[in-house]
Amino acid sequence: MTAHPTELATQQAPGAAPETLVLAVDEMHCGACLRSVERAALRVPGVESARASLAAKRLSVTFDPKQAGEVDVIAALDRIGFTAAPIEAVQQDRGDARQKYLLRRVAVAGFAAMNIMLLSISVWSGEGGSMDPAVAALFRWLSALIALPTVVYAGQPFFASGFAALKGGRLNMDVPISLAIILATGMSLYQTMLNHQHVYFDAAVTLLFFLLVGRYLDEALRVRARGEAQNLLSLQGGIATVLGADGVQRKVAAHALHPGDRLLVATGERVAADGAVREGRGQIDQSLITGETLPVGVKPGDQVYAGTLNLTQSLKIEVTAADSATLLAEISRLMLAAEQGKAHYRRLADRAAQIYAPAVHGLGLATFLGWLAFGAPWQTALTYAISVLIITCPCALALAVPAVQIAAASRLFKRGVMVKAPDGLERIAEIDMVVFDKTGTLTLGKPQLIDETDISDADLAPAAALAAASHHPYAKALVVAAQARLGAVQPASGIEETPGEGLVCREGKSEERLGSAAWCGAEAENSEGAEVWYRRGQERPVRFRFADAMRPDAAETVAALRRQGYAIALLSGDRAGIVEETAQATGIDNWHAGLKPAGKIAWLEARAKEGRKVLMAGDGLNDAPALAAAHASISPATAADISQRAADFVFQGAKLSPVIEAIKTGRRARSMAFQNFGVAAVYNAICVPLAMLGFVTPLIAAIVMSTSSILVTLNASRLAGGGRS
C-alpha cells in the first residue's frame, strides 16, 4: 500500500533508523482530502515522508522515532478534522502480494493469448489454401514456443491448488482445470511434432487468461473486504488518554495500552480498554456489551468494559488484561465453538465442482472407450477424448461465481454495506428468518426524548438553553429535541456544571437548574434513571424522560421483510418491559428478553434444528457469539469490534434498510450465479456431443470458449449497476 517507501527513506540523516507507520484514515474521499492529509502529516517535525492512498483509505508515514511519534501524526490529522488510527503490523498485509502474484500471471497469459491467437488465425484462414504448409508448421512451433513457458508460469495457481486438493483426497474446480490445460498443451505439442492440425495452444492459453481474470477478481474482492474491515476495527479502537505517574496526560492509541496503565475517561467518551474503576463514581452505558439500555452505576473497584460509554462523570480506570475479564473470556469461548459449526459451509463453486469434475472425466473416458469400441485407432480415440476435456473445461463455470460476487459487493459497497466474507453473499441468499438484536440494531443506541407531548415549549426552550452547555448524552438529546420543535437553540450564558449532578445558571431573575432529581430537589418517584429534571426558581420541577431512539425505518424494514416472507424475531439481553415496547413499535410478535449470549446461541441452535436458516443482525459484544453461530450475519458499523469481526456484512448509517438491500443483493447474486451456470450448461450441451463425435476443431473450441466466458462476465456486470444511495 505504500508506494515508494524505499525511495523516500533515503532522504533521512544517516544513523537514524526511520520507522514506518500505517494509519487508517476515516472520511478521506477526494483529492483535496488526500493532499491535506499528506501535508498535515509532513508538517509534523520528524516526519520524512507521507503517502496517502484513497483506494485503501490509509496513510503511510515514515518518521524519525527520536523526533516524532504516532501520536503526533494522529493529533495533527485530528486538528484538520480527520480521525486516524494506527493499523497493527500483523494486519497491514491486505493480501496485496497474492493479488500482484495473480495480476502478473494475468498479464503474461494475456500477452501470450494475444500472440498465439494472431498466429492461429493466420493458420485457420490460410491453411489448405494459399498458405505454404511449411509456414503453417512454423506458426505452430512459434505458438508452442510461447505457450509452453506461459502455461508453466501462469498455470501455477491452478496446478498448486488442484494438486493440494488431490493430495487431501478431495476434488475442486482446479482439478479439471489443470487437467484440461495440461492435456491440451501436451496433445498440441504432440500434434505439432507430427505436423497435424489438432493444435489447441490458443484455446489452452486463452482459457488460462480468462480463468486468471476470474481468480484475480475473487482475490481483489477478498483484499478489499479485508482492508476495509481492518480500517474499521482500527478506527474503532480509537485513542485513549493515559495518566502518567507524574500526572501528565498523553494520548495513546487504544491498542498500545498495557495492563496497569491508568486512563482518564471524560464524560461522553467511550472506555478504551477493559479495566477497573480506581477513582470516581458515575453511570456507564453498557448497551454495547449487554444490550441493556439503562445506565449502570459504577464505583471504585467495579469492572468496566471496552466500548462502554461514560455518561456522567470523568473516571480514572486502571487497565486490566483482557483475558481476566470473565465476560469477554466467555464470549470468546462461545464464539470459537459457534464458528466451528459454520466451517462446514461449502461454497457454491466447490459444490458445483463436486458434480462437475466426475461428470467431465466420465464423459472423456466414455469418448475414449466409445471410439475404441467403434474400431478407431487409439490415437484418434485419445485425441477426441482430450478435446472433450478441453471443451468442457469449466471456464465459464470458474468465472461464474467470482464475477457475480465482485459485482454484488461493489453494488452493496455503493449503498453503504461492506461485504466482509465473500461466501456470506451465498449464505445470506439462503436465509428464511431474520433475527434482530434490540439495542443498537433496531434502535440507534442513542437516547431520545420521549413523552414530548407532556412538555410545554415554555419548559423545553430554557431547559435546552442550559443543556447546550453540556456534553452529557441526555443533554445533547434534549437540545436535538428542542431544535426539532423550536428551531435554533440559544445557549444560555453563565452556566456552571457539576459533573455527575447537573447544570446551574444563576444569572437570570431566578436560579435555573437542570440535572438529576436530587440536584433539582425533585421527588424521584418510580425513577428509572433515564431522566433529567429541570427547575426554575421555586417552581415545580419538570421531568424529561429518555429512551433509546428507534432507527427511523425500523418498523418499515421489519414489515418489508415480513411481506417478503421472512420470519422475524427479536432477541435481547434487555429487560422484558423495554423489549416488549420495541417489539410492539416495530411489529414483531416473536420476542425474547433477558437472554445471555449462551441463551441466544441456544435459541439459534433450536431454530437450526428446525431447519431454519437465520440471518442474525446484531451489534453488541453479547451478540458476537450469535453472529458467529447464525447462518449469515450483519452488524451496524457502530457495533463492538468483536461483533464486526464475526459478522459477514457491516452496514453504515442510521437506517436499517441496508439489511434488506444485503438480502436482496445476495439473492440476486445467487440467481445470477445460477444463470451463469445455466450458460455454461447450455454451452456444454451443445459442444460436448460435437466433441464426443470428433467434430470440434481448434477454431470452434477457441470461439465457443471465449464467448461463454464473455457472456458470463457481461451477465454479472448487470448487478453492479445503479448509483450511490
Partner: protein, 52 residues
Amino acid sequence: MTSLAWLIPAALALAGAGLVAFLWALRSGQFEDLEGAAYRALEDEPPDDEIT
C-alpha cells in the same frame, strides 16, 4: 515470405514491450492507489518528494 522473418519478431517485440511496461508499472507501485492517482494528476504543485 521473407517479410515474415522480420514481421513476426517485430510483432512479438512490440507486444513484449507492452508486457514489460505493465510488469514494471505493477512493480513500481503505479496500481497502488487507482482513485488517488486520478486526483494527483490535477495537482499543480510538485509532489512532496521532489520539493526537499
